[in-house]
Symmetry: C2
């Protein structure tokens, strides 16, 4: 058995007891399973579904465990619907069942895979049997829409049950009229905590001109108990059918008996759950909350804004002010559609504020082949680890170099080029190219690369832009737009009121102004940096000016 | 332009001149292109196709360049068929056109990809436009068979030409009758050299009970000029849709302009073409033929036997006696179908004979995750390279350990487990786990793992068995038969007459006896090792005894 016992185990047990009670004709067991032994709302299925899910429907242990919980939830709901119609389970607590199914589905990447938040497999997807049951149950009791049809098409099967028949018939009908497309869930912010006040998980989606969906995920919610990763304000990014800024997922080979019986491996704690394993900022080489689960569970992220009304720019921002002693952190991430770019540009502003000097490691888990940089780096003749603990002991320091002003790192992942440009408000920085696998005596880790932008200073703004561009096909020896169009990013200034960054592309000058205080849609903000005054209304503003390129 | 100019460039030029001559009404240019300027069989298309291909149809620069050459060959043949019917091009020189198309196609793996022999992309496949033209031309002029239909199905298109129409109609007809399966080419040995006496390339295929095709490729032919890799007696192995013992392919990012203009990279010479980059034996840490192209082109492998008549065991053996000074080498590889095993067992005997003591590095390029070993190994706290030159400078020495008797290394590649058991006739050995990427200042190499079984001694037999077993599906959390059934391999003895090895599986004792001298099918052989006499007739014999396992 695993060292970490999920709360879900209890959940499954309750549903199992109820169904067994029914099967053996002991209605009292069913009653206990539904209402709890004490019948005082402290136990039983109804109490569980009232308390476990946030008002948004989100489950704190994240999608991998949610898809596991959803199966007994839906099965038992279906049992109650037939055998305890008086509960009116599908309308219970403002339709909590439908709500939580909806929340789970709305986390999935466009290809149906779930982001590997917290302890999770990287390949778990909506084709899981639990999700099949959930989609079928939802279709019957809450109605079918285009996204559900798209998901059913990815699943390629339905639950063998009258609920599944409803979905199957709906899909058949829809396909007779037209082809059923991929699901395209709207952007959604899912609040956390039983009253919805413990932060949130943000999911922003934007479609490019060719219909490809970019999805940006940020964690600014709860820790997730024993399965939690220490990655508040961590992000992941997906487009063109692949995760670009990647989650490592758990260090575990489920059911591979020779790999420690398929259980969670030591490296799950020593690497996979550490802050440095994520797309986040690690301060002073330490893990958020010092890898203390109780401490981590006692704090949470704080939503700032979630703005997804525009077709050309979307953004979300959140604070994490209790995760490192004496430091407040704010991350603001945006997707920006520009005519000259093939896909939405990801812009990321990570601000760390405090009294004293710290080291900031801004890490990016990518995959593929480094194509170019705009700075020299030295690849080391002998390699050692980047550090001694907090996950750094597992990172080989393969190469490093010192960029001047904007650092550019460009890589090729399968058929697509990605170019990252990063900078900070500090004077000096260093980029490390790392690879997992150090201090891994049983080859338990996958060998995966990352690059880490390191700077040091007091209150600091780290800023980056990630461009998705071009096309490469090795088999057909095609390569298009291998260099991209974004040429620089610069921090113009930042303070407790706002941050301003400037980005140059081939044809545009972009000024992005972001509010660093809690704000309303109509608040006016004004900051002055280098004698230039910047003003905007609400959470943020994007100012784009066409430029003529000097040739 | 690349530093290595392929002979094909000349080939393409000749076809181009001929077709241009025709287009601009200058028949004399066509004549020159066909017969050469001197009309003395020393130049022109007819001389080229007579001389460039071996009697088997094999092209010495290997499939990647062959598929490139095949397009102008077939296009120009089609031109001549119409405009110079007197040449009777499709019957010219015993149907050299059809013969060489057939040879190219018969090298492909079951999924349609070409083994990356010599300088080659790992992803080049029969869907390449040149191969499409070739398959269409072949269909029209030499007839359609099931394998061509299977290939056309993988290609999913035909040449837009009357030749393609023939194939398209044949496929349509065939599909109306039944579903068209994957192509399954017979095992084939393709001789090399203009008279077929310069060694050969061996391709053995065997189907398992579920229809999956295992393909074993061994290079015992010519070097291949400027594009040649120094890997005579190198093998590759493919099954379950993936290459298991892998070719690295070239160090080049074709058409990726920021990667050195898409040209061959320095690492192509310093790593990809070196012996250690292959599934071969590197002697004393040096490259075959000292990486001297002229020397390599002056020697070649020598076929010993190629035996593919049995459904339950197939084998091939060859010598390379001029590739290292003072050493003769023989490799004998087999596929053996056993009822108790899911897939054919790959057995490999590599014998090195000479007067003095040498170091032998028996390298295996794999992919995936190490699952277990039967010996302790130390993963290094700081890693350095395995050597200073001949490709070793690019290998990180990640971990190493000293096995006793049989060394076992098991790994998981996608959905399949592989277990390798290796040994030698020497007393001691060491296994190194390596990864490419050292001394790679521009991230030009892919990061890929290998394990190297090292031993030292005078005349030595290295022996191994590779079992394909089980199934793993991360998404569905399924794992079956993760440990395999082969338990040991032991060298019972070897001399200039023969080699004898013993393999234990759960249910069988296998004795494999291989002839180390040139032989005929009826020759009797006898060797005595440890007072036991082994006798067999012909090239090799396999003796299988059912055993009862002690529990």
């Amino acid at each position: 058995m695993t060292l970490t016992v999920s709360i879900i185990t209890v959940f499954v047990a309750v549903a199992a007891v109820g169904i067994c009670g029914l099967a053996i004709g002991k209605r009292e067991y069913l009653n206990m399973a539904v209402y709890g032994i004490e019948r005082n709302d402290s136990g039983g299925f109804l109490a569980q579904i009232s308390q476990l899910f946030a008002p948004s429907g989100y489950y704190m242990e994240e999608p991998y465990y949610h898809r596991y919980a959803i199966r007994p939830t839906c099965l038992f709901a279906e049992v109650l619907n037939r055998h305890m119609p008086e509960v009116d389970i599908y309308n219970y607590k403002d339709k909590v069942i439908g709500n939580t199914v909806n929340a789970l589905l709305s986390t999935a990447y466009p290809n149906g895979e779930f982001p590997a938040l917290n302890d999770a497999s990287r390949t778990m997807s909506i084709t899981d049997m639990g999700v099949q049951v959930a989609v079928s149950v939802y279709s019957k009791h809450y109605g079918v829409d285009d996204n559900l049809l798209g998901m059913a098409k990815i699943q390629d099967r339905v639950w063998m049950h009258p609920c599944g028949l409803v979905l199957s018939r709906a899909l058949e009908q829809a396909e007779q009229k037209a082809s059923v497309g991929m699901p395209f869930w709207p952007s959604v912010e899912l609040n956390e905590g039983s009253d919805g006040t413990h932060g949130a998980q943000g999911f922003i989606r934007m479609q490019d001109k060719k219909g490809d969906v970019s999805q940006l995920v940020m964690n600014y919610g709860q820790h997730g108990m024993g399965h939690g990763n220490f990655d508040t304000l961590g992000i992941s990014f997906f487009n063109r059918g692949q995760e670009v800024l990647r989650e490592y997922g758990f260090a575990r080979w489920v059911n591979v008996e020779p790999k420690f019986g398929g259980r969670y491996l030591d490296e799950n704690k020593s690497y996979a759950r550490q802050t440095i394993a994520h797309n986040a900022v690690t301060v002073d080489g330490k893990c958020q909350n010092n890898f203390d689960v109780a401490r981590a569970d006692s704090v949470h992220g704080m939503p700032h804004f979630f703005s997804v009304d525009s077709d050309v720019n979307s953004g979300m921002s959140a604070f994490a002010n209790q995760h490192y002693d004496g430091l407040s952190m704010q991350r603001s991430v945006f997707m920006l559609a520009l005519d000259e770019l093939e896909s939405p540009l990801l812009i990321d502003l990570y601000r760390v504020a405090g009294e004293s000097e710290h080291q900031y490691d801004y890490s990016h888990q990518y995959q593929g082949q480094i194509v170019r940089t705009n700075f020299d780096y030295q690849s080391h003749q002998e390699v050692s680890t980047l550090g001694a603990d907090n996950g750094y002991q597992h990172l080989w320091n393969i190469a490093s170099g010192k960029p001047s002003e904007t650092a550019l790192v460009s890589w090729l992942q399968n058929n697509t080029y990605y170019t990252w440009l990063g900078t900070s408000s500090n004077d000096s920085s260093e980029v490390f190219f790392t690879r997992t696998g150090a201090n891994d005596p049983s080859f338990n880790l996958r060998s995966e690369p990352a690059f880490i932008y390191r700077t040091a200073g007091k209150t600091t703004l780290l800023a980056s832009a990630l461009e998705t561009h071009g096309y490469f096909n090795e088999e057909f020896e095609q390569s298009v737009n291998a260099r991209g169009k974004v040429s620089s990013i610069k921090v113009l200034g930042h303070n407790d009121v706002g941050s301003v960054v400037q980005i140059f592309t081939s044809n545009s000058l972009i000024i992005l102004m972001v509010c660093n205080q809690l704000t309303t849609a109509t608040s006016q903000h004004s900051v002055t940096f280098n004698q230039i005054n910047y003003q905007w209304t609400g959470s943020y503003a994007v100012d784009i000016t066409a430029i003529k390129q000097e040739k």
